[in-house]
Structures are given as C-alpha cells and as structure tokens.
Subunit: 382 residues, 2 copies
Amino acid sequence: PQPLRIAVMPGDGIGPEVVTEAVHCLELLREKHQLPIEWTRFPWPSHAWHERHGEVMPEDALSQLAQYDAILLGALGDPGPMDDPERYLLPDSVSLAPLLDMRKGFDQWVCERPARLLPGARQYLADDRARDIDMLVIRENSEGEYVGQGGRLRQGTEHEVATQMEVFTRRGAERIIRYGFEQARLRADARRRDGNKRDFPTLSGERCESQVCVVTKRNALRYWGDMYTEVFEQVARDYPDVATHHELIDAACMKFVQAPWAFDVVVASNLQGDILTDLAAVLSGGMGVAPSCNLNPDNPDMPSMFEPTHGSAPDIAGQGIADPTAMLFTTARMLEWLGRQDPLLAEAGRELYAAVAADLAQNGGTRRDTRNIGDSVLNRLK
Amino acid sequence: PQPLRIAVMPGDGIGPEVVTEAVHCLELLREKHQLPIEWTRFPWPSHAWHERHGEVMPEDALSQLAQYDAILLGALGDPGPMDDPERYLLPDSVSLAPLLDMRKGFDQWVCERPARLLPGARQYLADDRARDIDMLVIRENSEGEYVGQGGRLRQGTEHEVATQMEVFTRRGAERIIRYGFEQARLRADARRRDGNKRDFPTLSGERCESQVCVVTKRNALRYWGDMYTEVFEQVARDYPDVATHHELIDAACMKFVQAPWAFDVVVASNLQGDILTDLAAVLSGGMGVAPSCNLNPDNPDMPSMFEPTHGSAPDIAGQGIADPTAMLFTTARMLEWLGRQDPLLAEAGRELYAAVAADLAQNGGTRRDTRNIGDSVLNRLK
Ligand SMILES: CC(C)[C@H](C(=O)O)[C@@H](O)C(=O)O
Ligand SMILES: CC(C)[C@H](C(=O)O)[C@@H](O)C(=O)O
C-alpha cells in the first residue's frame, strides 16, 4: 500500500529538540512493525526563515503541507536570538501566524487536549483525588474569538479604540458539541471495556456513565452564549445516555482546581478552550507532559496537525533539557489518528503511548535531559 | 457632619443571608465608634421583582442609588424558585443585568480582588509556599469584552452567526494600568511599614519591591493586545521603582496554579480579569472568603459598589449555611474606601478586617453556619 506521509516541522526553540526524540521513536516503530509511513522535514524556523525570506513560512507552505496525511509540529514562536534583544524582530503575533494559518487553512476545527494525571507526573493539587483526573478538553479551533477580525482606530493617539470581533456560527457550535458527545460515548465504551466505572449525575437525578460539560460566559457574552446553550440542548437530545452540564468559564476554572476529577468531556470555545487546556495541562502534571492535536475529522484531503500544548520555550531552548514526553504522547496520538487508515498504525500508537506512560511512571520524579527521556522510551520499544 | 449614606442591596439567593451579618457588624461598629454612616435597604430581589413589575429593578434604580456614597450588595442572580423549573423565567443574562448596569452606569472602572491565603483558609495547592500568596488582581471593569455589543444573525436557523464585539479604548487601558502601578507602590509602602520584604526581578536584572503583571492574549487577539502592551510600556516609564511583567492569559492561569506566590499586582481585561479572579479566589481559600469591589476612584458623585466575588448560590440559599466571610471582608473594604472621607471609617474597616481574619484563623476549618460566623465576628468587635 501507499505509505502514509507525515510532514515533520521541528519549528522553533525546543521544537527541534523534542521532535528529534519523536522521530527516533517513529524510526524504530516503523522498522519493528513495517509501518507504512514516511516523512519529510520542513525546516522553517520562524526567525531564520524570516531573516532570509521576509516571511515566516514559504508562501506556498499550506499547499506543500496539503500533500501530507498529517503534520507533526514541535513548536512555533521565536522572536529572535535571546542574547541580542536588538534583533527581536518578530512579535508573537507574527511568528505564531503559521500555527493559526494551518488550523484555519486545513479547517482543523477540533483541538483535543486530554488531561490525565498519570503516575509519575507532578501533582499540583493538595487533594489526592487529583490522581483520578481523567478528562478530555475539546476546544473549538476554527472560529470564535480567533477569527482575527478587528483593528485599531486612531492608533497611537489618546483617542484610540481597538476592536476585536468574536464570530461564532451555529454550524461551528453544532459540529464541536456533537463531536464532544461522540467522544463521551467512546470514552464510556473504553471504560466499560477496561472495567473502569465512573458515573455522573443527570439533571433528573439518574446517573450516566459519561458527561459533556459545555463552557460559555453566557451571563455576560450572551449572543454566542445563548446560541451555544440552545445548540447544546438540541444536540443532547440525540445522546440521552450522556449526562449534560453547563459551566461559566470563570466557575469552570475554579472547579478545575477544586474538583477536576468530576469532569469527563469539556467543550469550550477557542479562547476559553485555550485557557482551560493550559489549566488542565498543569493539573495533569504540567506542560512537559501535555499532548494536543488539531483535527479535521471529516476531510481526508486536509492534514490534521499534532503539536504538544507547550510552546517553543525560548528560555530553555538549545540546552537539551526540554521534556519530550508531551511530544511523544502527541506522536502516539498521531499514529492512532492515522490508524483510521491502517490498524497497524493505531496499534503502534498505543504501544508508544504505553512506553511513554511506563517511562513516566518509573522516572517521572527524576531530573533527566531530553535525550535521556527519549532513549529510555526507545529502549522500552525495542 | 453629614453621615455617609450606604445603599444596602441584599439581592438574591444567599445575598440577604450574608448581608444580614454585614449589617449587624455595621450596627455594632457605628454604635461603638459613633461612625457617621447610615443606610437604606433596597429590596429588589430579581425574580420576585420581575414577577411583580416585569423588570429586574425599578426603572429609576440607578438614579435612586446615585444618591448614596456606596452600594453594599449581597449577590444578584435568581432564575426563579429551585423547586419549580417551569418558573425558571429569568436567564442569567437578564437577572444579572443590574450588576453590569451599575458597573457601567456608575463608571466603576476598577474591580479590585485581593487574594491572600490567610491562616484558617482552605489550601487547594500541594505546595506550602501557597501560604505566601498575596496578590491583588485588578480587573478592568468598564469596557472590553463586556460592552454587550453584537447580535444573532439568522437566529435559530442552521445559518446562524452570533457576533460579540470587544471594544477597548486607550483611555480605558491607560487608567487601569496606571491604577495598577499606583496600587503596587501603595502595597510596597505598606509592606515596608510592616517589615515584610518581597522582591521581584526587573527587566534590567535588578530587584524591585513591587511588580505589575499585565495580562493579555496578544499573540491571538492582537489589536487590543498590542495596544495594552504599548500603553503598559509607556506608563511603566513613570514607575521605574516597579518591576513589570507580561503574561498571556493561558500562561497566567497556569502560573497561578504553579507559583501564585510570585505575583504582586495583576492587571487584566474585563473577561480575563473575571477568569483570573475566580482562580485567585480559589487559590486563596475559595468563594466563601473572597472579597471584591467595583470602584469609581475619580468621581465622588458616583457610588462605588461592594459585593463579594461569589454569586447568589441558589443551590444553598435559604439554608443559613452560606459563609459570610467574603461579605464581611467586602464590608471592611467599603469602610476603608469611605475612609477617604472620614479616617474614623478607615479605622473601623481595619478593625472589621482584623476581626474577620482572626475568626478565620481560629475557626476556619470547622463547619459553622452563617449566623455562627457572623456572631463570632461580632463578639470580637464588642
Ligand atoms: C500560541 C498560541 C497562538 C496558541 C493559541 O492560543 O491557540 C497556544 O496558546 C495554544 O494553546 O496552542
Ligand atoms: C455574574 C457575572 C456577570 C459577573 C461577571 O462576569 O463580571 C461575575 O462573574 C463576577 O465576577 O462579578
């Protein structure tokens, strides 16, 4: 069969360091299982590329990437060399543009960020029930607060007015909420298989094996808040087996700290999802272990993109000390996703996930450098 | 001298219960120190008022309240009787409208929410440095995401588009950021007086006794994010003695959990401030102890409003079990504020604060009902 093609983008900062470990794992797994995958590196570090070409990615970047079945991204965001502030040329909003361009250009409308506090991961909360944290935060990734519409009137004067438009569509709300319910069912199925019982209260007082919590700020941002609420109630009717819940974003953040183990699937808007997923990441051990992916579930011609939740971390870049765990979990998720086309890949994804989790359980507490962690996972895969 | 006039609005849910305790304390303090204050109750519970009059407050509510020097509010938000879902008439966006109307109508552009993890308060974080949490979150309270502009196009159809406009002015940014720097200085002065040393790194590597951290999401919401950044840098030049720091909202939430003791003054937009203050509340013991106020610092003809961070909590209303601590701290803050006109009041505010803190330190861990806690504070004041 035609091998599946992966575009590997190391990116900026610690990106290349953690991607190196991911590629080692992919090489080993490919050899071991004869996986039908191949990959190409796209060396487009924002700053260097910008200095040479005046852009942050080649103009035809998206059409180049469109040829691939998946994009594996380290991290983007590099304002310039840390030791020479004069050369800090690129504001974040420029050097990160490719990230948002890919999400938008390939209509990767689902951002999935699971949060489980795995054995070995750092626990920030005092309550030991934190060990039961097991939620999936699903962020709407294609519209809302991130549409980039707005501007600055009378810029730089004392009369300046800056506007930013939030645009939400019912279609956008419907597809992400429905996706959330589907995931809730899949998660309940998986738990049932594993004999791992959880339950959630429904409004009628019964218990359900799964739950979707939708987050808005409908008491203040009522236009899209009301629309989301209506769509949520409507879609929920198709899933009587799933409990439903609504939280305001402020209360949701509070409850993430007070009782994160009470959440199952959480669906949130682009910005509110961005906030909740950083919180969820820290509750499940921190940025070093938090995977992420940007999916287009319905158009096979558009690649999905797999990047850890963390950024390029310029403060520790180049030192070989970044934790590649998040990148490796993300790579496992990519293989699982490609497994929709070949079950061999899904299996390899689960194998990689298990190896990374086992390494974390054994060595999570000890200080190790990037290469160490990568090698330890490789050894488990051998 | 003319007594200062307080409009007491018990409001909805647990509001009246906690306000009762606050009024007892005010009565005692007035008697004890001959405080020049008087108050009037405004019984406008949203739901009941709405059923009787078709509105949530009298039409001339704002002009009635404008006669007062301060508003002491319990909580607003009451969709209707809990036991009769058919009568849930008021969506949050309606029953909470008076809250936003007051903030806007009286141009209460500062929302101050201090977060200190006081002895006796519940600690949610595992790290014991949480005991050093001592920050002041200042929320822009007059514009931004809360301007209420937007709408629903093709409402209810599959082609619906909901928009919500965020509007930020340079004047709005400038005054709140400057307010933040002023507070940072005042806090440093107070710490110096108390011999309580803290320091923060400046950009130049020196150490400062105070810090302002401004929060935006400028890498994605760049129009107002860039404006805020520019204004921040400009205002900071007037405060070389205050360290400056910028965080993105997602990273800020993460760092609130990872190292909240590293923050001093935090300035954030209306929505981002709403989110950060709920998080800060939980990190400093939860909603039961988190005070808040909505200030108009420059127009003496417009009353400021004092309400705890918590809402009306309809789920526990009527049971007499709501914790009045947040309300009492809030009342102390009101007295301090009125103390700008009469030092006697500022002193009474400090006395009330100390009594509430002492009660918390002694009894914080034990389950007590509303009346118990109020009485215990009263006894300390006697
Ligand atoms: C880098 C930034 C634009 C991005 C976002 O806000 O989406 C990041 O925070 C993320 O969560 O992937
Ligand atoms: C009730 C709601 C409108 C309000 C807000 O969002 O400002 C509340 O959350 C608060 O923080 O005071």
